[in-house]
């Protein structure tokens, strides 16, 4: 098991494709996306009931064992979140390598 950082990013569903591309560019080793999330934050309720996903969120989980990449991702994600809303959390974890 290898120590790594676990990033968790909540962002609007319409931006999911853009965030995935940015994670690729920034060198994330991989990511997992859970769609159709709802939630509440500073920008009010997002019920996830819109045909267009305008008020729907999604959750990205990124495990990364390279601190430089983690920093790059955090810096690259911040402006997206600042513009459209969302949350980015970073925590410690152990990555079970196979």
């Amino acid at each position: 098991m290898k120590p790594c950082k676990r990033l968790e990013i909540v962002i609007e569903q319409p931006l999911a494709r853009r965030l995935a591309e940015r994670l690729d560019e920034l060198g994330a080793p991989g990511y997992t996306v859970l769609s159709n999330a709802s939630g509440r934050g500073d920008r009010g309720l997002r019920r996830g009931d819109e045909v267009t996903d305008t008020f729907t969120n999604c959750l990205f989980i990124v495990a990364c064992d390279d601190d430089a990449v983690v920093e790059r991702i955090v810096d690259g994600v911040r402006p997206l979140i600042a513009r459209s809303g969302g949350v980015c959390l970073v925590s410690d974890a152990l990555w079970v390598k196979h």
């Binding site: 319409p14 920008r43 009010g44 309720l45 009931d49 819109e50 045909v51 008020f55 513009r83 459209s84």
Partner: protein, 334 residues
């Protein structure tokens, strides 16, 4: 007017809209699962596009049709301009631009409801109006973004360069625009032959699917209205919501009058004139919000979405369509 008005009010699709609104109002847990609502919306776009294409294939595209298309395009470019002018001072540039895009574009479901209103009233309408609808979806989005770029700087618009390719893609290749246009082209290619094999699916089921979709719209619209009232989805600080509500009813009426004038000028038929007016008066809550979240995230969706979905949409369904029909009868057909 009365008969039409009442017949519209008591049509099953509209009643299901109210049923949905009632469910949300009393906080019932009635809910259409999101993938199903998306399916219903895809179905409606598919069906209306295909029908329009088939109608077009029957040689509908004469001079009058072309002038109708021209009028639609003029309308789609004009409305966002005066809407923005009206709103810029009251809201920020971003919200003003977003509302301009929303009201300059159209609502396919309002259009669809108007066509079934015409069908049930026995008034003919031309398939090229579906093309007009498709044509009117995107321009307002592009104009809205442009207006924001031109006027938004003082307002703190980020200097970020526009990625024009991406903007065009998001405006014109938006899923719902793409499906209507694509289905229209396929309907046009396969013509009557295609209609024969597809009519049980897109013809017979249409009203039932519309009922279920409007049930969902009713639920969502009533929720948005409540969120709006509770300030849960943060209305613009500076602007009273009274102004916004007046706007969401007044602008469609103004747009209807402009469309009416165009229709009279071009001497459109009763059905075509009504549909043009409905297109002008309707505001988008599917294609435009989806595009704006990508192209103009600075604008607050809690303003433009509830206004178009929870105010303008039911207003058009309920009062608008029969009212515009009456106006068309008095103004255009004389």
């Amino acid at each position: 007017m009365d008969a039409g008005f009442l017949s519209n009010l008591s049509s099953p699709p509209l009643l299901f809209f109210f049923l949905g609104a009632a469910a949300a109002a009393v906080r019932s847990d009635l809910e259409i699962p999101a993938p199903v609502a998306k399916f219903l919306s895809l179905y409606l776009l598919f069906a209306i596009g295909f029908k329009g294409g088939v109608a077009l294939s029957k040689g509908d595209l004469d001079g009058q049709a072309l002038s109708g298309l021209g009028a639609a395009l003029v309308l789609a470019c004009l409305v966002p301009l005066y809407a923005f002018a009206l709103l810029k001072r009251r809201l920020g540039a971003a919200d003003a631009a977003a509302l301009a895009a929303t009201y300059g574009s159209i609502s396919a479901v309002t259009f669809v409801t108007a066509t079934s209103y015409l069908d049930s009233s026995g008034v003919a309408w031309g398939g090229h109006l579906v093309a007009a609808m498709a044509l009117m979806e995107s321009p307002a989005i592009i104009i809205g973004i442009l207006l924001y770029r031109l006027y938004g700087h003082a307002d703190g618009a980020t200097g970020e360069r526009i990625n024009w390719g991406e903007l065009l893609r998001e405006a014109c290749l938006n899923g719902s625009v793409f499906l209507i246009v694509g289905s229209m082209v396929i309907g046009w290619i396969t013509g009557e032959r295609g209609m024969t094999v597809l009519s049980p699916f897109i013809g017979d089921l249409f009203i039932g699917m519309l009922c279920l979709f409007l049930l969902d719209m009713g639920i969502v619209a009533a929720r948005r209205l409540r969120d709006l009232r509770r300030g849960q989805i943060g209305v613009a600080r500076g602007t009273g919501s009274a102004f916004l509500l007046a706007f969401a009813v007044g602008l469609p009426l103004a747009n209807a009058l402009v469309a009416l004038a165009l229709a009279r000028l071009l001497g459109l038929s009763e059905g075509d004139a009504l549909l043009l007016v409905v297109l002008g008066a309707s505001a988008s809550y599917i294609a435009v919000p989806a595009a704006l979240r990508l192209a103009l995230p600075e604008a607050n969706p809690s303003i433009y979405l509830p206004l178009s979905l929870a105010v303008t949409f039911p207003f058009n369904l309920l009062v608008g369509i029969p009212l515009y029909h009456e106006l068309v009868r008095r103004v255009v057909l004389t």
